[in-house]
């Protein structure tokens, strides 16, 4: 009979786990106090993994299964106001069902960390990835980040706690993981030691906003027009501070864990000599990178910029980077019906970032692809690149194109 020799707790180890499991492991390492759950695919994988950790005695936390997503998010909101480090999450219409709670969470400066297993909004009832669920809160004060690997999911969850719980910030953060491609695929992930995590992540301190009998405060009283603008301005200031705190956290992460993400806001792939670049968020990075390697064999100098942090949006840095290229093609795994040029959300924001930038402004084409979990294939990416090349050559192109559609 084989003998399992468990590695000493204090050393890093490698495990074959899904993106959801990586988030669960991050929760364990962050010693989260209160977790609420309500099943919806693909988020439910996280709640199952956490449940298993608790059942196995590996994790000690309050684990509450609510009667719906609205309560799920309200419970952790309140627990977080009482000083508990919290975690929850959802997907698709489950996230939307929690919308009222999602709205008040940043307003009350609650540093909740949530995982959104990105899923198409109903109807039709589909399980596959689409980014419209998480993007629905993009204007409300949530920090939004997209990851493309299980390793990045784990690391980003730790960074999310560190930044959100910083007294300068106190804003919630949603980590988006593409349904199926990330939530249900197992990959080799380095799990850091508890010691390193403890060094990186201080305990959550609610400080002056702690809801406790020894610190009698009223949270969320009714206020009229004499107060609302000032309160919004405070959240504006907090969101404005996130970039600096994020940079500090990523630098510290590299120092402690020895893993570097470079620019925290977006990843650049083969952009140094690129004529054109493609952009996108989440796991479509895999087919895009493979397609780029193939195209480069044909002499096409294509690069890729993968957005990580969508909120805050690193407009100046992005515009500076994109100004180097002849044209940009943004692949949206979302839609924004009736928006300018009927483009997806990310395309529209990229165009906005460029409009006020001091440097050169390359043309930006929008592509809607991969909706409802449809694969974005290597030939799809090549089609996108062809169109972007035409724009780079000054040939007229539709500003929004659907890719991978039966037509």
């Amino acid at each position: 009979m084989a003998t399992l020799v468990e590695a000493p707790h204090s050393t890093d180890k490698t495990a074959l786990i899904t993106g959801s499991e990586a988030i669960a492991v991050a929760c364990k390492l962050a010693d989260v106090d209160v977790i609420t759950a309500y099943p919806i695919r693909p988020y439910d994988t996280v709640m199952q993994y956490i449940c298993k950790l608790v059942a196995n005695g590996e994790m000690d936390c309050e684990y509450i299964v609510a009667e719906g997503e609205h309560s799920q998010f309200e419970i952790v909101k309140h627990a977080c106001a009482c000083g508990a480090r919290v975690f929850c999450g959802s997907s698709g219409v489950g996230w939307m069902y929690a919308m009222e709670a999602l709205t008040v969470t940043p307003a009350l400066r609650i540093p909740m960390v949530a995982m959104v297993g990105n899923r198409a909004l109903d109807d039709p009832g589909a399980f596959g990835v689409e980014h419209n669920d998480a993007l629905a809160v993009r204007d409300l004060g949530w920090q939004l980040v997209w990851v493309d690997s299980a390793q990045e999911a784990l690391d980003t969850a730790l960074i999310a706690y560190r930044v959100s719980e910083d007294r300068r910030i106190f804003l919630p953060c949603a980590i988006s993981c593409d349904g199926a491609f990330l939530t249900h695929s197992q990959a080799l992930v380095e799990i850091p030691s508890q010691e390193k995590v403890n060094e990186f992540l201080p305990p959550y301190n609610r400080a002056d906003l702690l809801l406790h009998p020894d610190n009698p405060i009223t949270v969320a009283p009714q206020g009229n027009e004499d107060w609302v603008m000032e309160i919004r301005r405070q959240n504006y200031a907090a969101m404005e501070r996130v970039s600096e705190v994020l940079k500090e956290a990523y630098a510290d992460f590299e120092r402690i864990f020895g893993r570097s993400y470079g620019n925290p806001f977006f990843e650049e792939y083969q952009t140094d000599d690129a004529d054109i670049v493609l952009m996108g968020m989440g796991t479509l990075s895999t087919p895009v990178k493979v397609a780029i390697r193939q195209m480069r064999k044909e002499g096409k100098k294509v690069g890729f910029v993968r957005m990580r942090w969508f909120r805050p949006f690193a407009a100046a840095e992005l515009a500076k980077s994109l100004g180097r290229f002849k044209a940009v093609g943004v692949i949206d795994r979302d839609y924004s019906f009736g928006s300018p040029y009927m483009s997806g959300v990310v395309t529209t924001e990229v165009r906005t970032a460029l409009y006020s930038a001091p440097g050169p402004k390359p043309p930006v084409l929008g592509f809607i692809a991969g909706l409802g979990g449809r694969e974005v294939t290597v030939p799809d990416v090549q089609k996108v690149a062809d169109a972007v090349y035409k724009a780079a050559e000054g040939k007229s192109q539709p500003l929004t194109q659907w890719i991978g559609l039966r037509e």
């Binding site: 307003a107 009223t218 969320a220 000032e230 200031a237």
Partner: protein, 390 residues
């Protein structure tokens, strides 16, 4: 540009909401009879209204649509031609949900504008309550019982049409009595109401109020913090719990006085206030338990002193008190200060009883809604009689 007119109605929330709306609507309709354009609205910040809390309604009228638009560029008018006060106790000031601090009742009046108050008092009594103003104005009293009703009922005692008649008298450029009567008949088909408007028009008169006349009190002001001076997270410190009271005679400590909101005094939220006979109080605790505003301070000897910082004048204490005339609601106009009744009683019990007997004479002819069966039937004919008095 034509002429712009602004009229405000200051009223007690809920109890006089329908009354105020009927007045502001009818102003616009009567002015429209003469080709003018207008808008009638209640201040949004006063809503949802609370029982008795001061609130405002406005009628803005312009000679033409463009003039009206000029007037509406500011949602609430900065100055008004006429201020109508449908409860005379509001002369003490307006402390609304919609803002912070105390606003003098005559604050928005233009120089030489007119303050119309429904009251049974004389001008001198009202001027004792109303704050001083830097510019002269006119004070007109529409004689009558202050008109209160409930949320779902309207006491049709002709207060509305009488005020419309008074406006036609003081601001004939806005509309004539004829237009007022036309609008009354169009809306309510009641010639008796049209007649009441005419009587008010004929009889109303005003006295000139000079700068410096009125209460010398400096109204409580509140300065708003800047956004970066405010705490974040929409969290505010709780009001501390409070502590024992001290007896002004024996210096003994005991009982309990809750600390209260330092920025919302409620001094003007009452149209009547309770007076307590401490000699007959049986310490049953019912007033203390039932008061919706926790207004009762518990004295060292276990009596209950209604604290005027917190009292909204609802009358629940009077209703639940099992002892006859131990708690009595009295017209707020009978009081000049907000001092502790218990302290006065402790200092001079005989003097207090004399004071009490005097105050109880000013039992309210007003009330919040319907305090007893038959009140409506009793009061409406009385009001109509008042409207007809020579």
């Amino acid at each position: 540009m034509g002429r712009l007119f602004a009229i405000e109605v200051i009223y007690r929330g809920i109890f006089q909401k329908t009354l105020a709306t009927r007045i502001t609507r009818s102003i616009v309709l009567a002015a429209h009879e003469e080709g003018k354009m207008g808008i009638s609205f209640g201040r949004y910040g006063d809503s949802p209204e609370r029982n008795g809390i001061p609130a405002k309604g406005f009628a803005i009228v312009g000679d033409d649509a463009q003039t009206l638009e000029e007037g509406m560029a500011k949602y609430e008018p900065k100055e008004v031609d006429i201020t109508i006060v449908v409860d005379d106790t509001l002369c003490k000031g307006v402390e609304s949900w919609a803002w912070y601090g105390l606003q003098p009742v005559n604050k928005l009046l233009k120089p030489s504008g007119t303050l119309i108050v429904t009251s049974r008092q004389q001008p001198e009594a009202l001027l004792q309550m109303a704050h001083r103003k830097e510019t002269p104005y006119n004070l007109a009293i529409l004689k009558g019982t202050v008109s209160f009703s409930g949320l779902w009922v309207y006491k049709d005692d002709h207060t509305d049409v009488r005020i419309l008649g008074a406006i036609a008298k003081f601001l004939p450029r806005l509309f004539s009595l004829k237009s007022v009567q036309k609008v009354i008949i169009d809306q309510w088909s009641d010639p008796v109401k049209a007649e009441s408007a005419a009587r008010a028009y004929e009889r109303i008169s005003s006295v000139a109020v000079q700068p410096g006349q009125g209460s010398p009190e400096t109204p409580y002001k509140f300065d708003f913090p800047k956004w970066h001076e405010m705490g974040d997270g929409i969290a505010i410190p709780c009001i501390p719990a409070g502590g024992e009271m001290e007896d002004p005679i024996s210096q003994a400590s005991g009982g309990f006085r809750p600390d209260r909101n330092p920025t919302f005094k409620k001094y003007t939220t009452r149209t009547m206030r309770p007076v307590v006979n401490f000699d007959t109080c049986i310490k049953c605790t019912l007033c203390w338990l039932q008061c919706p505003d926790s207004c009762f301070d518990v004295t060292p000897e276990g009596l209950y002193d209604a604290n005027m910082q917190a009292c909204c004048g609802c009358g629940v204490c009077e209703a639940v008190c099992p002892v006859k005339e131990c708690v009595t609601m009295v017209n707020e106009t009978a009081f000049e200060d907000n001092a502790s009744q218990w302290e006065d009683w402790r200092k001079d019990k005989e003097g207090y009883q004399a004071w009490l007997a005097e105050k109880i004479k000013s039992r309210p002819e007003r009330s919040h809604g319907f305090r007893y069966r038959g009140q409506y039937e009793e009061q409406v004919p009385e009001m109509l009689e008042t409207a007809r008095e020579k």
